[in-house]
Amino acid sequence: MATNRITSLSELWEDLQGVYTPDRFSDDIAHRVVLQQADKMMLENDSSHNDIYKSAVFKKLWNKKIIYLTENTFTEPELALRQPDMFEHLNEYPQSEHDEVVFGNGSFFSTVGSWTRGYNIWSGSSHTVNEAYSSILDNIEFNMPSALSSRLSNSAQVLNIDTYVNLTLTSDARNSNEATLQELADDHWSIKASDEPILNAGIYIVRVTKGNTAKIKEVHASGNAVFCSNWIYVVDYGATLELDRYINQTDGVIDNTHIIQYPNSKVKINTHDNGNQWRNINITAYQDTVTKLNGSTLLKDSDSANFVHVHHKGQNGDSDIKYNSAIYNDNTGNFIGTVQVEKKAVGTKSEMTNKNLLVDPLSRAFSKPVLHINTKEIECTHGCTTSKISEDELYYLQSLGVDRRTAKTIIANGHIQI
């Protein structure tokens, strides 16, 4: 396979299509299942008619020059510990409110303590592991970024939450590819400091086990990285997931998030978008689930694209999706939201809105709400609006002494408040 080099996601996609899973992963059963699924998708994929690949921001990120490292500090299987060790410190420090877990290249590490720890689950017999991962992946619809990131992932770990947690999932710069690149540059590799960002790609699975509650702040932060990830959140029977997603100072995020909601589970997601991102969120919701998804998009310097697909597969699901955006300059905000209700999902309630505020004359919004209803006795609504800033509101703020530019900012920031 490829060695360290400057390339792009599209070139990696071309290179890896049809290439057999490398032997070096063969001892990791979970990883092998993921790679096989990703390989399969990459062969079957037909992107030609798919709306989600049409935006300029997708093309920009997919073709962006990146540094791809085949070696990095995240792959240290000897540090992997059994799951219970992961949250051991919570018992030691019960007053601690926040836990921090670092993600990168498909691995999770706890930063608590003096050394970095990895962990794993479903490490029983090969049959058990195979079945567990397959059952998750059967629920997933792969797309190009998710398949590629899964294929590039260095492992397939699960962050298994079996207690109440309040944690931050972060791409910690101290353990990032950037640090690795520096080491390599100091050592033997020819690529030194470069303008190209470094690729951080992987599959991440987070599972909130039965009846538990997880409050997670997911932060992508790195001065010189493009993130291409496949996130899978499994919310088990009666479990609750509250997820806040932030992207700070990256060179771009192109990822897929799949949330599987088992019966009686609750999910609340707040996702913040500052542009230069392409994010697809798929939610599979079984019976008696509650789903709340708030998207806040602030585009000042770049475009973004957000896609949401809520798939109600069981009865009495309740989903509420709100995406608001404020778009400055000549940037474009894209939103495609789909609610799909299966025949047996009687009693589904769903509301989806997308409100776009065009701050400047050249700002643009593309919005497409879609309903696929295959049953009766449901309440599903959707709506989208695209408007300019109200002159009345601007004048009101000006009449209180705020200059016009600041007034625009106040109104735009208010519009995207979650």
Binding site: E393, Y395, Y396, S399, I410, N413, Q417
Partner: protein, 232 residues
């Protein structure tokens, strides 16, 4: 505050022509006029709404403020309360005042405390500071919120455009006491109203009636008489 040959037009319709008038510190003036005569347009013409055409001069400290942008007029000390203030979603009432007054971190706690005190003074709910500006507020609540903004910003000149609409008797007393206090502090108040009950509590010095495309200066008694018996 001095108007010189002040004219106002909207949609090519001239509403006021060549108005000359002086408004002195510590004086409250009541302005009345029939519906549609241009009272609100006058208020917002002074404030600088961009669909209103004004002509002439409006001198404040010898400076013609008609040459200024709306926000600069506000900073020069003019405040107009709105008949129907707009909703601004996602912006809290205190957040708005914080931005208007450019309150920084150190002053925040003290300002919030005093803002909550003002809410209490006008009988607005204690959590109003954290509610979105005018969102879901009744007519009366919005008017009370306008009074909070007035007290918080504390401008030299206040033009209150039918501030009494939607207010109950207590509300009318409240508005009157706030304006009376401003008057005693030497500030200028212009109160546009149709409501003679407001005048039962309001201490005022002068009156103007809209008539035949201009503002006629009248006595406080004539204002009360007009609001009681109607326009001639």
């Amino acid at each position: 505050m001095e108007f010189e040959n002040f004219s106002i037009a909207i949609d090519n319709k001239k509403l006021i022509k060549d108005f000359n008038g002086h408004f002195a510190n510590g004086e409250t003036t009541v302005i009345v006029g029939p519906n549609g005569c241009g009272k609100s347009t006058f208020a917002h013409g002074v404030m600088g709404r961009n669909d209103i055409t004004v002509d002439g001069k409006l001198l404040l400290n010898d400076k013609n403020i008609l040459e200024l942008e709306t926000d600069e007029r506000a900073q020069a000390g003019i405040f107009v309360s709105w008949q129907t203030p707009p909703e601004i979603s996602g912006v809290t009432s205190f957040g708005l005042i914080r931005d208007v007054k450019k309150i920084n971190g150190k002053q925040m706690a003290q300002e919030l405390k005093s803002f909550k005190g003002l809410l209490n003074d006008v009988d607005l709910p204690s959590d109003w500071y954290n509610r979105q500006v005018n969102v879901g507020g009744s007519g009366g609540e919005r008017k009370r919120a306008e009074m909070v903004n007035l007290m918080s910003i504390d401008p030299r000149i206040a033009i209150l455009d039918e501030i009494d609409t939607g207010l109950d008797t207590n509300g009318l007393k409240l508005v009157s006491s706030i304006v009376n206090k401003r008057r005693s502090e030497g500030k200028i108040n212009l109160v546009i109203t149709h409501n003679k009950n407001l005048l039962d509590h309001l201490e005022f010095d002068n009156g103007y009636i809209f008539r035949s495309g201009t503002l006629l200066r009248v006595s406080p008694e004539e204002i009360k008489d007009t609001l009681t018996h109607g326009y001639k």
